[in-house]
Amino acid sequence: MATQNIKVITRKPLRWWEKLYLPQVLAGMKITLGIMLRKPVTLKYPFERPVIPKGYRGVPTLVKDQNGREKCVSCQLCEFVCPPKAIRITPGEIDPESGNAHIEKAPAKFEINMLRCIYCGMCQEVCPEAAIVLQGEYSLNGYSRAGMINDKKRLYELGGTIPDPVRKWDKKKRA
């Protein structure tokens, strides 16, 4: 590096208004104040939540129909199709006294392990009863591994109601 070609430049001396600093400070304040008065572009998460677009694939949930009937009949197709094997179902028989005895089958247990779920939506796609739906919920957390497994009760809490336009089981009951 002996032959490095270094050119020494002497800094220009500051002019008088540059020595004052104030114009620069004011220019900066102008930008800051201008933005402070504008509508904010960010959300105050988690106090504010974004609007979730239709068709968003959030946490898979189980839903009931307009009569409060659980739609899932525990066919276990979602369990079969789920690529990371996040779903675990124990099928059961519907209590003959419940008024839904004609449907015969419902899950006794239904668990989705959210540490495994990859939000692919295959379960929703395969479900013949439109009972499992990936809805708007996206924020989930827990204190333990077990806490990340959504059981049947939690899945229905998350899912709520989605009306069934066909009402095939009602027709069957009447028939």
Binding site: S74, Q76, L77, G92, E104, P128, A175
Partner: protein, 560 residues
């Protein structure tokens, strides 16, 4: 249908010649060369009904001149002309004959199938998601393969009973039923009790029991197996698990010395059902309801887990040492069982030889039910003869052991899975001796035992049994052993090795077979890995003078 290879005929399917056995119908013949002709009512083990029409195919025969009987030759090809029938015929009702021509993909065949499928589905419910048959339903399979995929039926579907209990084990769904009458024929022709029949007419017809009867007895679940759809369901298996999750393992039923071939269906170490496996020489395609329930022994309340010495839980090692200490006191006896596999009996023999002591063989007899349960209620008492564990049955009666205990000649009894009190020993006799108990279930003997060695059920281990006709049959492990148990073969091999101050290195079934072949003349030519699924008949002549209790079952009669 048994194949008769000496009597072959040539038939032509879709322009290709095939050699098939004569004297069979077209469905079976096509099956034998790997071609599927869809069918519902026909079942190879039941008489033919010809009612579903799913097997309709276009057939033809080589033409002959009516007047002269000379073959009619097609000018263009120089070959004999084929006279195609103007209407399709049912394959299940057509016997193969030389020169039979069949079209499986012609317009006529395809539209026949589509038509039949459309009619069958017209009133069929959309039940697949809740139907236990889904995954093994021929209606489902054939509809997607040979159906049109659309229905023109616009009226309301028929409504029928959806859960009609026909008997203690069987539930019937009228809407799913396709009235193929396989169940009716099974009861009428196999059971000899025409309990089931078709009632009502046309599309309203359904299956019901004859008034005042129900589908009872010990063979009712076969109806569920023959039913091609989900109309007949097992109350035990109903809604338990989808079949596509289940792993199939070949097993042998331990209910009696008939040695019914079975398939055990399990998922992740849990058994959900047992069904018969076809073996024309033993059980055809049937099995008893009671045999199907034996999987419940795996998780029974009485199941033994955890090795025990006295009152304390110990490791397998400690238990084995404690057992050996008791056995080596010079006055031991062994009670073997027909529930043990051939390999276990053989290793028990070497254990008995190493520590010394007489071997007795438990006897559990019951009534022959005339079908698939014989007098001897253990699967493998013949094995004790073949392995040389006992010379004959009379000399190994457990009653002789009782006398020895009374005479203070026996101090330790090694019991393999049997309950001595039900074999005629009194409570005092049990209390008088030290008992080492090897088995899966708790009983009066295991309660009295000084050392308990919990072992595997038949579903958790592999091995062979020898049935009433000296047929050597193999069973494989369906599920892994549960916690707190070891396989019988491991326990026995460990004891036998330690008794002769060595270490059991290889306790696999295959390694025991090496020694078995050398030691037992009738097994000398048998390769364990190559025992066919339907078993191998052994030479029974060395035991021709022994009076066996069996009087015969469905497919076997003792020689006079």
């Amino acid at each position: 249908m048994a194949e008769d290879t000496t009597n072959l005929v040539t038939i032509n399917i879709d322009g290709k010649d095939y050699q098939v056995a004569a004297k069979q119908n077209l469905v079976d013949a096509a099956q034998s060369v790997g071609i599927e002709i869809p069918h519902y009512c026909y079942h190879p083990k039941l008489p033919m009904a010809g009612s579903c029409r799913m097997c309709l195919v276009e057939i033809g025969m080589p033409m002959r001149d009516r007047a002269t009987g000379e073959p009619v030759i097609d000018e263009a090809t120089g070959k004999q002309k084929i006279g195609w029938m103007p209407k399709p015929a049912i394959a299940c009702g057509t016997s193969v004959s030389p020169g039979l021509h069949v079209k499986l993909n012609s317009k006529m065949t395809v539209s026949s199938r589509e038509g039949v499928t459309e009619f069958l589905l017209a009133n069929h419910p959309l039940d697949c998601p809740i139907c236990d048959q889904a995954g093994e339903c021929t209606l489902q399979e054939f509809s997607s393969q040979y159906g049109k995929g659309v229905s023109r039926y616009r009226d309301a579907k028929n409504v029928k009973p959806k859960h009609k209990s026909l008997g203690p084990q069987v539930m019937y769904d009228g809407e799913r039923c396709i009235r193929c009458t396989r169940c009716v024929r099974f009861c009428r022709d196999i059971l000899g009790r025409a309990v089931l029949g078709v009632t009502q007419r046309g599309s309203h017809s359904e299956i019901d029991c004859y008034p005042g009867t129900q589908l009872d007895g010990n063979y009712t679940l076969n109806v569920v197996d023959v039913c091609p759809v989900g109309a007949m369901t097992s109350k035990d298996f109903r809604f338990k698990m989808r079949v596509w999750f289940l792993k199939k393992s070949k097993s042998i039923c331990t209910e009696s010395s008939v040695g019914v071939n079975t398939t055990v269906w399990s998922r992740e170490g849990k058994i959900y059902r047992i069904t018969p496996r076809e073996n024309d020489a033993v059980n055809v395609a049937w099995m008893s309801d009671s045999g199907r329930m034996l999987y419940k022994t795996v998780e029974a309340e009485t199941r033994l887990t955890g090795f025990r010495r006295g009152e304390s839980e110990v490791t397998f090692d400690e238990a084995a040492d404690a057992a050996l200490a008791l056995l080596k006191n010079g006055a031991s006896a062994f009670v073997a069982s027909g529930k043990m596999s051939v390999e276990e009996q053989f290793v028990l023999k070497s254990l008995a030889a190493a520590v010394g002591g007489n071997v007795y063989l438990a006897k559990t007899l019951g009534e022959n039910d005339g079908m698939l349960i014989s007098e001897d209620r253990t699967p493998n008492r013949r094995g004790a003869l073949v392995t040389g564990l006992v010379k004959d049955f009379d000399g190994a009666e457990v009653s002789a052991l009782a006398a020895k205990i009374d005479a203070d000649e026996v101090k330790t009894v090694f019991v393999c899975g049997e309950d001595l009190s039900s074999l005629g020993l009194t409570e005092e006799q049990l209390k008088k001796v030290e008992i080492v108990y090897l088995g899966t279930q708790k009983n009066a003997t295991s309660e009295e035992a000084s050392v308990v060695l919990p072992s595997s059920t038949v579903f958790e281990k592999a091995g062979t049994f020898i049935n009433q006709e000296f047929r050597l049959q193999k069973f494989e492990a369906a599920i892994p052993g549960i916690k707190g148990t070891e396989s019988d073969l491991t326990i026995l091999s460990t004891l036998a090795a330690r008794a002769s101050s060595s270490v059991a290195t290889d306790v696999s079934v295959a390694s025991v077979w090496e020694k078995l072949r050398a030691a037992c003349p009738v097994l000398a030519n048998i390769d364990y890995a190559k025992i066919p699924d339907t078993g191998t008949l052994l030479d029974a002549s060395p035991w021709a003078n022994i009076a066996f209790p069996e009087t015969g079952s469905l497919k076997w009669k003792p020689a006079k």
